[in-house]
Subunit: 464 residues, 2 copies
């Protein structure tokens, strides 16, 4: 069967005009009046569906077809007719309709508004709705744009491991992975779990970040990135936290913090422009029904010159507004979303990088600045959301890194290979992390992370 | 600093001829004789390095530079000189050399042959060798080619979950994920582990396949694919098995087994051609030092018309050679690598799909053929390796699927959402799985899966 996808019709309607073709898809709506019926047929190739006109005089099985339930899958052969005077630019006049798979009157996705909470309970069906169709198509387009961006810029894509034997990545609570019999965990003499007989012969966890391994690869390939799942076993039941999410982590050698910011800005702009171009119908839907300011905000960010301000300067700017914050700031504190949004939305009116944070509130691997108090870190703040990206120049000086490990009570033995990178041809290098779901939320205006993940995993939830 | 990558020099040497530029990289070899020195500088942007010529008369720090150890990182400013009469097409005459990061005489990667076993023990450094530089660059190029192939063909990229609450994917032994205190696992009244207090409120595992979730998405988007990590807790200490590996799983609606095979053939050819084009230096190295027949085999596969034969026919062909097999075949048996390779290498002399296997040796979700004995499965066999891809048309008929679950003692309750896909607009559909590491091994000729994974996880091994 030579099936034409509906996306192709939208891409080149002139070509298909008056042509007889076959389309396959699912019935979103169906209505009939006497000898005429109308089907909104969606095949998932693009956001919009195809209006199929059923005429009793042309269809031997007209009576059966108009009785089909919403959700049924059909294959329709018919002629494409341009309809410039109508809401939709073209329609199909059916000559033959075959039922691929019926549906039932109790099909859960009837034509009415469903709550996102209800739709989460039927995650296997919700991609057939407008909202989730748009969300997951944007997700896919954004993922491809990221791969394309790094590919075109000469980066090597690296799969860092998901299973990790080190409990010292330091980015959050971790899940244990085991093949031990949970009903009867073997014990050491002092009564602790004995992992010697576990699959990997020791305690292992799910990774929280691929950065340290990505640094190894950057010291060979110069420019690398990871794009894979990461995990947090944190009991954060908020709209912004999931236990399983995807992260992009580029790492560049021979680069400092300024180069890192240049890369992050260029990447974000590229991804926004790519998605606007690839998914105009989806973004338009989100702009209309999810977040009215979405399209304008995305276009502004894609063309803005991002600001740059040090943490110390930012604190001075924020202090002027301390009376209006839930949490007033002072030098040394971590920035909350309210502060981040104030900076980017009220002070800079565009995305802004905040740089050079106090070392106490940042990770051990960030490069110590000459002031001895701050590290070469950066957060990218964007209007509407606050922090989108966090990154830093890495500490490439062996002695400085060892001292930092010592200060934090971390063991050099655990980091022998990470320290090796500083022993053998260590270079200035930098990188950042971008939570992919955060990006998809930003691109769609969707405010709950559960609605941009196909099958979200959160506290107490691992269905499907 | 405006750094030029060495890949750019190879891509357009005429442009850079006589130009003075800066390159940054790591010293692979260094030698000097009196007032002259030679450095092979590699920056990872491509397989080959740049020959840098050091002349005492031009360099104030000549004496220090020629004493540098292998592995040191340097930044070199100099002039590109074309050398058409030499082995390398151009070289750089250095005017200024700065040390980014020194190395030491005990740098583990000295200029000599190291065993792959030794190199696995320094996985953080081995990407700096020729073999692993090629392997991981090919890996990256192949991954991008896969994304590009599906993107250009209108597929939606889907992230299926890594954490799964169902223990019934049926593809192998699974790892348990938990946040319970392993030293003191809470117990139910009957003495079993009590997962009620675990992070997800029940027992969860690492996924072995995203297929079932991908089917949900295919029933909305028509054509989807996954590309993510999957896990097997199998104690298979072989060169072909890893506990963590990446898998590509496309799923297409309105398609049968023939369409599935068309897709698989088209994809494999696209990826091979893309990698040959993107990584000629890497493939050439592998062809010369890893597997002499590699390039010829890849080019043959990329242009071959793949054969198709039923399992039943294949068994008849194999029986004629039963005397020479370690495991003689008969109808009903599973095919071993020796049989697969015999079929593709000796009988067909090209890749071949074997279809319609006995239902007893295949998974529950494969579509039952009209003979009642075989299912619409396919394996793609390729010369040099045997099975590269396994796929099937899925059972879309609700009653047939329920009966199959019952025959195998599987519970309908566990599959409620998977059955729903057959209740509401189920369509003919098909898909396949491609182990990504298997593909990279095929593209490079590398025979051990541990050498195509940046940081391999196998029985007893989860280092770095």
């Amino acid at each position: 069967m030579d099936r034409v996808e509906i996306a192709k019709l939208f891409a080149d309607k002139e070509f298909y005009a008056e042509k007889t073709i076959t389309v396959c898809g699912w019935i979103r709506t169906i209505r009939d009046s006497k000898a005429l019926g109308f089907v909104d047929l969606n095949d998932g190739s693009c956001f919009k569906g195809l209006q199929v006109v059923l005429e009793e005089q042309n269809l031997t099985n007209f009576k059966d077809i108009v009785k089909l339930n919403v959700g049924a899958a059909v294959s329709v052969t018919g002629t494409i007719i341009l309809t410039p005077e109508m809401k939709q630019p073209f329609e199909m006049h059916a000559q033959q309709v075959e039922v691929e798979g019926a549906s039932t009157p109790d099909y859960p996705l009837q034509k009415k508004r469903h709550s996102v909470e209800f739709l989460r309970s039927i995650a296997h069906l919700r991609p057939r709705t407008n909202l989730f169709s748009a969300a997951f198509r944007v997700r896919s387009a954004a993922a491809f744009a990221i791969h394309q961006f790094f590919h075109e810029n000469g980066f090597v894509y690296v799969h860092t491991p998901i299973v990790t034997g080190s409990d010292c990545e330091g980015a959050g609570e971790m899940f244990t992975i085991t093949t031990l019999d949970m009903d009867n965990v073997p014990k050491t003499e002092d009564g602790k779990a004995d992992f010697a007989g576990d699959f990997f012969g020791k305690h292992t966890s799910l990774t929280v970040s691929g950065q340290l391994e990505a640094e190894c690869m950057a010291m060979a390939f110069g420019k690398v990135y990871t794009f894979g799942p990461t995990f947090r076993a944190e009991n954060s039941n908020t709209p912004r936290h999931a236990a399983e999410f995807w992260m992009i982590e580029p790492e560049i050698a021979f680069a400092d913090l300024a180069g890192d910011m240049d890369l992050a800005e260029k990447m974000v702009k590229f991804v926004i422009r790519s998605v606007l171009e690839a998914c105009p119908q989806d973004i338009e839907f989100c702009n209309q029904f999810v977040d009215k300011g979405l399209l304008e905000r995305l276009e502004q960010v894609a063309s803005a010159d991002f600001g740059r301000v040090t943490y110390t300067e930012a604190i001075e700017l924020l202090k002027k507004n301390n009376g209006n914050f839930e949490y007033p700031v002072e030098w040394g504190c971590d920035l909350q979303t309210e502060h981040e949004r104030y900076l980017t939305e009220q002070v800079f009116h565009r995305p802004v990088f905040v740089t050079d944070y106090p070392k106490e509130i940042k990770a051990f691997y960030m490069r110590l600045n000459d002031d001895g108090k701050t590290v070469a870190a950066m957060d990218m703040l964007v209007p509407g959301i606050g922090e989108l990206i966090g990154g830093s120049q890495r500490e490439e000086r062996l002695e400085a890194l060892r001292q930092r490990l010592q200060e934090l009570g971390l063991s050099e033995e655990d980091y022998w290979w990470y320290l090796d990178l500083r022993r053998y041809g260590g270079t200035k290098h930098a990188g950042f992390g971008l939570g992919f779901e955060r990006l998809v939320m930003y691109l769609t205006g969707i405010s709950n992370i559960r609605d941009v993940l196909p099958f979200p995993r959160t506290t107490g939830v691992a269905e499907f």
